[in-house]
Assembly symmetry: C2
Homo-oligomer: 154 residues x 2
């Protein structure tokens, strides 16, 4: 097995033998070295955002002291859900290697595929409803942001 995917697999296995979250692992690699290694910790932390990839991104950015990881790759045992994929894009990670996919995850009861459909606007059943409120006032925040000096983008 690919050594980095094996490391991600070993992380995922911790939730087969233990019970901190779902059977998902991820590692982040920079210059051939693993700089972060994590498994899903939703149950252990009560934090629904603590997927393996998010935990690994937090670990890597903390370790490297920066919010962009454009020189890193991520290996995940399952296709990142939209939350994790978007986090990977925000972190500017250019390459993602994954094993199982969103349909495999659906087969064992996880909503990854549903959430992909929701984000794409093609979900048949809607469980989360969005309403627009105070659009004009909120856009004024952006007008002020544009005028702000010395701002850093991310």
């Amino acid at each position: 097995m690919n050594e980095y995917m094996k490391a991600a697999y070993d992380e995922a296995m911790k939730n087969i033998t233990g019970s901190e979250g779902g059977p998902f692992g991820a590692v982040i690699v920079k210059d051939g070295e693993i700089v972060a290694s994590a498994h899903n910790q939703v149950l252990a932390t009560n934090d629904p955002t603590m997927h393996a990839e998010i935990a690994a991104i937090r670990m890597a950015t903390r370790r490297l002291g920066r919010f962009h990881l454009e020189d890193c790759e991520i290996y995940a045992t399952c296709e990142p859900c939209p939350m994790c994929m978007a986090a990977i894009i925000w972190a500017k990670i250019p390459k993602v290697y994954f094993g199982a996919n969103r349909k495999d995850a659906e087969d064992i009861g996880f909503d990854d595929n549903y959430i992909y459909e929701f984000i794409a606007g093609s979900a048949r059943e809607i469980k989360t409803y969005c309403y627009i409120l105070e659009h004009d006032s909120c856009v004024k925040l952006f007008d002020q942001w544009i005028k702000k000096e010395n701002k850093e983008m991310y």
Copy 2:
């Protein structure tokens, strides 16, 4: 202004006067009470996942001691990006109120709209490449997960 959106607006304003991240705020409301209130903290924490909505979800789940927020609503000054929208769905929050939208965010230089297109498979430019690796081995993890007893779903 709606009182909850005003609270989210005041959070966002902290990044106009200060510099912890982008001009985005969010609050989570349960039974008419604000149980979490946060602004974007990507720059302050070096964590690219620290959007206002994610920070608020983490705060609310920590405060309530559970990973589902099906009895809560979220108010955000801007349409949640796919990372935050997926986190909201994982947290089972049924109602989202937002002000500015993904196109307004794009107008001030943020990638929300691009990431929506990427997730939907319609982005014209791809900056993050995905590769399948060790599919069969990783699906075996799921076979073991299915057989695991007393597992909790989330």
